[in-house]
Symmetry: C2
Subunit: 251 residues, 2 copies
Amino acid sequence: MSQSVDRALAVLPLLARGPAGLGEVADALAVHKSTALRLLRTLHAHGYVHRQPDGRYRLGARLFALAAEAVENLDVKEVAQPYLRDLARATGHTVHLALHQDDEVVYVDKVDSRYPVRLYSRIGRPVPLTVAAVAKVLLADLPEAERRALAARIDYPRWTARSTPDAEAFLRELELVRAQGWAADLGGHEESVNCVGAPVRGPDGRVVAALSVSAPAAVVTGEELLELLPLVRRTAEAVGRDYSGEGEEGP
Amino acid sequence: MSQSVDRALAVLPLLARGPAGLGEVADALAVHKSTALRLLRTLHAHGYVHRQPDGRYRLGARLFALAAEAVENLDVKEVAQPYLRDLARATGHTVHLALHQDDEVVYVDKVDSRYPVRLYSRIGRPVPLTVAAVAKVLLADLPEAERRALAARIDYPRWTARSTPDAEAFLRELELVRAQGWAADLGGHEESVNCVGAPVRGPDGRVVAALSVSAPAAVVTGEELLELLPLVRRTAEAVGRDYSGEGEEGP
DNA sequence: ACGGACGTTGCACACTGCGCAACGCACCTG
DNA sequence: CAGGTGCGTTGCGCAGTGTGCAACGTCCGT
């Protein structure tokens, strides 16, 4: 749509592969050297391109700063909201979005079920680390060393007979969650509540959030809830794609 | 130098602060909406800009991918080489560049002293983790949990009386190195060799490499070597700036 | 049903970005 | 040391490209 901008933007992926001189850039773009020079100068003025001591060009610090700033100012909650609503409508159950921050997992958004039976969750409230599906999804993505350190640090309250009993079992459970890419809590926190969760991944592949569908056992059995798993996972992936700025359309 | 490219590039920092609609972008650039639209379309075609379901624009995945690829293909060794040479010339001693990769710290570059006495290091050879200055610099930057896990995993050979004896002492030493931003090895590996090292930081502030100056005790005492510390640290910072693509000039 | 805000399209003008050719400079090479 | 080659840099005249304008379409909220 805009020739010169088009060309300038094509320079960046080129330089991402490694440093290049003016001639190389001009050749790759199939333009005259003077043209390439102007483009590089403009990019340089904005800090997107860095000139090495040897005269060759590399990507500049601005690009890293931009990417970092963009991630910082990105609100998963805002991006996820429409997806959560769709998921709640499709399943008819309560949907949660949770984040992990300094040794706690907290709900940051929630769409209530249309059934009269409500759950006890509250936005902003910490989630039981050892049993909740979202907590397991979020913690499973930590580096192994941090996972072990955390597992040794936390308590293991026996909410129900199905609660995770100790650090060893917890780490095994996290390993499983990590491998299969989703988590379930079938009566681990309260006997009568089932829940399945899936990870939302950011641009670098790390898990940035988790979403889950919860329902009282009186309404759906564990097996029935697990049938929703593909939908839950697809939704989580869609949120991740949107959050990362991939693809085209929304929900 | 190039008006349209100039304007297009000015869009990115704008969007990094958060999503914006067409009108906002046009206003910020002080151009007509149609002009802003063309620029955004071009940026979108290249994937640098993502269109949200609500029609507003955000930075796109391409930017993150670029930043990641650039970091991947960046060779610290190549960037550091001229700095290492300068440092070796200025001090007259042996200079090393080391990286940390899966439980090992290895020398990836070396500039020999001009003194006849040489050291036993070799490029590509693993460095003793518990004593070498570069190892301490690199490991001190790990997250606390990984540091603890690693400290528990490795051996503590008693090369000399000054060698780090156990995990507890090692962790204390790493904490010190982390706080002060440099490390020393005064006869910890071999009685007769002293060494000071400093971290090279990447665009995200994480330590990506370490460089050090080593000299036989017969040539310089520990105190004399420590006088070189400011120079070593400044050099490491300069490498980091260049590596991150900041500032303008080389060594 | 109406008004406003927002994104989108087509068009004609002129300014901007283009390629060309010549220059300056550093580095080899005979 | 003269000649040659590869690099980045500069000035210039032409036209192609990007521009602002005005009008249209569409989706809101009132």
